[in-house]
Symmetry: C2
Subunit: 134 residues, 2 copies
Amino acid sequence: MEVSRDQLLHNGYHCAVEATIDIIGGKWKSVILYHLMSGKKRFNELRKLIPGVTQRMLTLQLRELERDGIIHREIYKQVPPKVEYSLSDFGESIVPVIELMMKWGNEHLDDILSAREKAETEATETPQLRYTTK
Amino acid sequence: MEVSRDQLLHNGYHCAVEATIDIIGGKWKSVILYHLMSGKKRFNELRKLIPGVTQRMLTLQLRELERDGIIHREIYKQVPPKVEYSLSDFGESIVPVIELMMKWGNEHLDDILSAREKAETEATETPQLRYTTK
DNA sequence: CGGGATCCAAGAGGATACTG
DNA sequence: CAGTATCCTCTTGGATCCCG
């Protein structure tokens, strides 16, 4: 099923992958979705599962995922408060993408790191001759 | 094949999807890769294929993809210059991920847009009562 | 043609303090 | 517990001009 070019242009996307990366491309979104794949999680659970994320950032990314209809936010009116995040039905549809990303990451992490390491050493050795080389 | 937790921690990643999104998560990277899937492209070809990207941004994103070993940069020493970008063998391995993202985007673009539209109207109607609702 | 260099505006993101 | 609010910094990204 193809999406018409007009519709894509009208909404600012010129390519379908652009829309997808807009949904899951946030710095922490894919990781959040990964952890929600295994079931609903509370706010502080996610904080612990995602070292490095700040409270503010986690909140912001969760808000965007909620706005896009990917996750559901369940508030229990009690003291102390309890909020649970879970994938919506729509969010479940993106699970295969996350799973494939995880699979690729696991299989190629070493390649990524060695490529970066190599690039770093070359950068210090050879300052700038992007045009003159080769 | 699993990656050990120590290795992930050592390199700053706590989750395999984090590594993947680090590679393709740039604003234009997934779109660039999408266009390179169908064959090598020259710099200005990519510019035309990706409306909205600036020259500077295209250059920067291409550099990062090159650094990570995803794409190859072939320079033809001639006047005027000619540079062709293509997927490396490593880059080819990520094609299924891009394809799945495109598939998902095509199938769910409408859902995304309607969710955002809904969120926008609700935001103007109901200012802020995230805790008091429900 | 395919960039690099520079300047500047906007947004992402961190730290800290406070709250229902 | 699960945020919000504020301030401040650093990075992203656009515009423009120049170069091999």
